[in-house]
C-alpha cells in the first residue's frame, strides 16, 4: 500500500517537526504575540529592576541583580504557560481538528507543541540575556549557554503544564482565569521577586511545592547569584517536574476530546 499511495507510516520525527513548524510559523505572523513576548520582559527588567533597585538590596547584591534571574524565569514562565493554554483557541477555531483526524499520534502532536513553546521561550530568553548584559549583568559565554539549556528544559515542563490546562479548558473564556489562578501564584511564590526563605506557614509550604521555586533558584545560581536552597534539591525537583509534566501532558492529550 505504501508504494501505491506514496504514503509511509507517518514518521514520528516528521510529524513532530510538522507541528513545530506550524507553531513557530504562526507565532511570528501574529504581531501582538511577538511584541508582547519581546517588550514585556524588557519593561520588567528596566522599570522594575532599575526602579526598585535604587532603594533595595538583598543579601548584599543589588536588587537588580537579584531580580534578573526572576525576570528571566518570569519571561519564559508566562510565555510557556500562555503558549500552551493557547491550545484552547486552536480547538475553538477548529484547526486542531484537522490534525486530530490525521494518523499522527496524540503524543507526536503534544511534543511538537512542546518544542514550539521551547523555541519561543529560547528566543525571548536570548533577548533578556542580551538586555541584561547591557544593563550591567556579567556572565561568560559558557554561562550564557548553560542558562539557555536550563531555560529549554524548564520551558518544556512549563509548556506541558500550559497544554494540560488548554486541553482541559472548555472555552477560551477561561483564559483569564489562568493568570489569576495559575500564573501569579506560581510566580509570586517562587522566590523570583523576593527570597522565600523567610516565608512560614501555608505560604512557605506552597512555595516549597512550587516547581518554579527550584527553577528560579537554579537559574539565579547559574547566573552567578546566591543559591537560597540546596542545588542538589533544585536539580532533583527540576528534573522530576519536567518528566511528570510531560507524562501528564501526553495523558491529557490522549484523553482530549476532538
Amino acid at each position: 500500500m505504501s508504494e501505491d499511495t506514496g504514503m509511509a507510516h507517518p514518521s514520528v520525527f516528521r510529524g513532530v517537526y510538522a507541528i513545530w513548524w506550524r507553531e513557530t510559523t504562526v507565532f511570528f505572523r501574529e504581531p501582538p504575540r511577538v511584541i508582547s513576548a519581546v517588550v514585556s520582559p524588557i519593561i520588567w527588567l528596566v522599570i522594575f529592576g532599575a526602579g526598585l533597585g535604587q532603594s533595595l538590596s538583598i543579601g548584599g547584591e543589588s536588587y537588580q541583580h537579584f531580580i534578573f534571574g526572576g525576570v528571566l524565569v518570569q519571561t519564559f514562565l508566562f510565555s510557556s504557560l500562555f503558549y500552551g493554554a493557547y491550545l484552547v483557541w486552536d480547538r475553538k477555531i477548529d484547526v486542531l481538528k484537522a490534525v486530530l483526524v490525521s494518523p499522527l499520534s496524540r503524543s507526536s502532536i503534544f511534543f511538537g507543541k512542546v518544542l514550539g513553546g521551547v523555541t519561543i521561550s529560547l528566543i525571548e530568553s536570548v533577548i533578556v540575556l542580551l538586555v541584561g548584559y547591557l544593563i550591567g549583568m556579567q556572565y561568560s559565554p559558557a554561562v550564557f549557554f548553560i542558562v539557555l539549556g536550563l531555560v529549554a528544559l524548564a520551558s518544556a515542563g512549563l509548556t506541558a503544564l500550559g497544554l494540560i490546562v488548554g486541553s482541559l479548558m472548555e472555552s477560551p473564556e477561561g483564559f483569564q482565569l489562568l493568570s489569576s489562578l495559575v500564573l501569579f501564584p506560581l510566580f509570586f511564590l517562587s522566590g523570583a521577586l523576593f527570597p522565600i526563605s523567610n516565608l512560614t506557614g501555608p505560604l512557605g509550604v506552597v512555595a516549597s511545592l512550587n516547581p518554579v521555586t527550584y527553577i528560579v533558584d537554579l537559574l539565579r545560581g547559574a547566573l552567578g547569584g546566591a543559591y537560597y536552597l540546596d542545588p542538589n534539591l533544585d536539580i532533583i525537583a527540576f528534573v522530576a517536574f519536567i518528566i511528570i509534566a510531560n507524562l501528564a501532558g501526553v495523558y491529557a492529550f490522549e484523553r482530549m476530546k476532538s
Partner: protein
C-alpha cells in the same frame, strides 16, 4: 466491495439520541448522500466514521478497518472536509497543504507535484502563496477539499460542502465533486440538507431524520416511491375527492390550504381527463416529485421547516462541543 459498512451505529449525548441504529452499506466508487435537516445526526455519523467520536453502541468498518479497534488505520485511509473551516488562516494555501503532507507522512519526492495537482484541481494555483485569511469562504472550502485529497484517501467525507456558499460557489463545488468521481473514482460520503445537492451529486441517498434512517435508495427510486406526478389545483369550488379517486390513474387526493393535491400516473397523458372531472379551475400546476415530497412522505414534515427546532439546536450544540 463495501467501503463503509455500519451496523446499528448509535450515539447518544447524555439522554439525547443523536444517531439511532444506523445500518448502511456504501460501495466503492459511490457518491452516497446523507440527507436530513440540521440536527438529524449527519455530522455525528461522519465524526464517528472518522474516529473523532466514539459510538455509544453498534459498530462500523471503513476500508475494512473497525473504527473502534483500528482508528489510526481508518484515519490513514480517509480524507475529510469539515463543515466549519479548519485550515490555518495564518498559513498560505501552499503551506497548509505542505503541513498536511508532513503529518500524513508523504514521501518527499512526490509531495510538491501532488500539492501542485491538488491546487490546480481546485483552481487555487494563482493564490497558492497568499495567506488563507485573505481567501473567500468558497476558496477556503476548496483548499480544504484539496487538502482532503492530498494523501489519496480511498474515501472522502464531505460534511455540508456547500454550506454558506453563494449559488455560484455551490455550482463550482458541485463541479469539483463530479470531477473527483469521474477522474479519481473516489468513494464519497456527503452530508447535506440541500435537496438539490443530494439530487445533483449522489448515486444513492439515505434520508435521515432524528438520528434514524428512514429511506435509502437512488434519487430516482426515492421519487418513484412518492408515486406519480403531482397536480395542484386551485379553485373556488373544489370537487369531491371521492369522484376523483374513481379515476383509475389517480393515486391520492389531498386537500391542503384550500388547494387540491392530486397524485396521478403520467400527468402528461391524463391531465385533460382529470381537468374535465374537476370542472372550473383558477390555476393548475403539474410537477414531477422532488426529494422534498419524498422527505414529507417518509417523515411527515418538510425538510426546510424541520430546521431550527429547540431539539435540533440542542443536538447541534452537543455535536459542536465534541
Amino acid at each position: 466491495m463495501a467501503v463503509i459498512e455500519t451496523s446499528k451505529l448509535t450515539k447518544h449525548f447524555g439522554r439525547i439520541p443523536a444517531v439511532e441504529g444506523l445500518s448502511l452499506k456504501i460501495e466503492e466508487g459511490e457518491v452516497f448522500g446523507l440527507l436530513g435537516p440540521n440536527g438529524a445526526g449527519k455530522t455525528t455519523t461522519i465524526k464517528m466514521l472518522a474516529t473523532l467520536l466514539q459510538p455509544t453502541s453498534g459498530r462500523a468498518e471503513v476500508n475494512g478497518f473497525d473504527i473502534a479497534r483500528f482508528p489510526s488505520k481508518v484515519r490513514e485511509s480517509i480524507g475529510i472536509v469539515f463543515q466549519e473551516p479548519s485550515s490555518d488562516e495564518l498559513l498560505s494555501g501552499y503551506e497548509n497543504l505542505k503541513m498536511h503532507s508532513m503529518i500524513y507522512g508523504l514521501h518527499d519526492g512526490s509531495v510538491e507535484k501532488r500539492i501542485d495537482e491538488a491546487l490546480a484541481l481546485v483552481e487555487l494555483t494563482d493564490r497558492r502563496n497568499d495567506l488563507v485569511k485573505t481567501y473567500s469562504g468558497g476558496m477556503r472550502r476548496r483548499l480544504e477539499v484539496a487538502r482532503g485529497l492530498l494523501h489519496k484517501p480511498k474515501v472522502l467525507f464531505l460534511d455540508e460542502p456547500t454550506l454558506g456558499l453563494d449559488p455560484r460557489g455551490r455550482e463550482t463545488m458541485w463541479g469539483y465533486v463530479k470531477r473527483l468521481v469521474a477522474e479519481l473514482n473516489m468513494t464519497i460520503l456527503l452530508t447535506t440538507h440541500y435537496m438539490e445537492e443530494a439530487d445533483e451529486l449522489a448515486d444513492r441517498i439515505c434520508i435521515i431524520d432524528h438520528g434514524k434512517a428512514v429511506a435509502v435508495d437512488t434519487p430516482g427510486g426515492l421519487k418513484a416511491k412518492v408515486g406519480g406526478d403531482l397536480v395542484t389545483i386551485t379553485s373556488s369550488v373544489l370537487p369531491d375527492a371521492k369522484t376523483l379517486k374513481k379515476l383509475k390513474f389517480v393515486r391520492a387526493v389531498e386537500k391542503k390550504d384550500g388547494d387540491l393535491l392530486i397524485t396521478v400516473d403520467d400527468a402528461a397523458a391524463n391531465l385533460q381527463e382529470l381537468l374535465c372531472k374537476v370542472g372550473r379551475v383558477e390555476c393548475v400546476e403539474v410537477r414531477r416529485p422532488t426529494l422534498n415530497d419524498v422527505f414529507i412522505k417518509f417523515t411527515g414534515h418538510e425538510l426546510e421547516q424541520a430546521e431550527g427546532g429547540w431539539f435540533d439546536k440542542i443536538v447541534q450544540q452537543e455535536v459542536n462541543k465534541q
